[in-house]
Symmetry: C2
Subunit: 264 residues, 2 copies
Amino acid sequence: MHKGMGFIVLMVLVWGCARQPQELEGGRWVDLSYDFSEATIYWPTSDPFRLDTVFSGTTDQGFYYSAFKFCAAEHGGTHMDAPVHFAQGRRPVNEIPLEQLMGPAVVVDVSEKALKDRDYRVSVPDLQDWEARHGPIPEGAIVLLRTGYGQFWPDREKYMGTAERGAQAVQKLHFPGLSPEAARWLVNNRTIDAIGLDTPSIDYGQSTNFESHQILNGQNIPILENVANLDRLPPTGAWVIALPMKIRGGSGGPVRIVARLPEG
Amino acid sequence: MHKGMGFIVLMVLVWGCARQPQELEGGRWVDLSYDFSEATIYWPTSDPFRLDTVFSGTTDQGFYYSAFKFCAAEHGGTHMDAPVHFAQGRRPVNEIPLEQLMGPAVVVDVSEKALKDRDYRVSVPDLQDWEARHGPIPEGAIVLLRTGYGQFWPDREKYMGTAERGAQAVQKLHFPGLSPEAARWLVNNRTIDAIGLDTPSIDYGQSTNFESHQILNGQNIPILENVANLDRLPPTGAWVIALPMKIRGGSGGPVRIVARLPEG
């Protein structure tokens, strides 16, 4: 090895080591979560999120105080479907190992096709095309499908095909999802930690048997739905942590998802 | 540089670079959050956490499905007090910058004193003693006070001094907290991101004016309460991320707190 080369290697090493503590603290972080309010999108058969005031104002003792209470369905807004949502005996939301709630983000952008077709389903070739460009989906990845429908949030009609509520509205749902074939390909050929997308459900709006849910949940894979800001992530290099509310025995729940962008 | 030396440097570099992705993914993680159930401890004046079944079993189409909905007060279980909880015009829980929700953990163990005195308040000398041993509390730290009362969870009487509910139970609360003097010392002399402890409130059980809340929230500092597993963290070296449910305008809410332990 040439002396100069050795010096460069040494400097890179010093820089690399000095950089390590910042790996966690520094960097730019992006919030992939929508907030919860009465405008938050829920499934047409669910009640909207509700926040009630317990107290807000000045107390008798003279200091300011505010507190609220709330009611919510597990499966609305930015939320997680725990494996037990569609798979009997699989993990509830409080029992998913922390290590499975974090990992390198794989962002598969199918927005060009999906924005032309509300009923688009991400296919095996879509995943294979991504791999041809970026390499194999790494073990422990959190796969995020970008359909482009996130731009319509919180306009219910544009986002999910109908603004109506109630059981009769379900058949009017039109938004993209993941095909059962692609779900099966993922669980059979790759080892992913979790999967998510920027629509209300991993199965497309017209699904009636929720087969992709069954396939993924059946393999103990949690699903992230109504994920925000996917346009701000690169195809690879981001790191994601998705921490759900720890509801004992819950089939899912509100989740806060954040991504650390790669440096540079 | 000697050739052999260059080779060693190169190998360390390769190892260092290969290790970097694991900086975030690897390591041991500890969950500092209790789960939410009917047994979860809330303030005596709050209703308990409530989970209702929407559906659980086999659908008409023949697949398994389970879903629940829930109601909760913002301030129960492992939760965050957003600055607006006790400080008018300060940040609600959905507006706290992500960077403030993560940082190096400073764990101040006062359990020996606090377990002998239910009304113990962490003092300025307690913080100064910690610094004398471990160095100054770093900028952006998440300060965690370990009173030792976490071991009593979820036994309400042992944990907070009374198992009674209702307004008359509040005066029977006895558990440790942070003294207003120590809260003032922290905001005036150090720059911390957040503070938390293993009791139901940053002000001790007998407080009536919640002065430490007012001081901390007044400086836009969020407070973490009913933090779990503090006995599993070292005094320094852990890294914490506390992601609250993103309730728009919320004065706080359920939070999932996790810590990455230092290597080795």
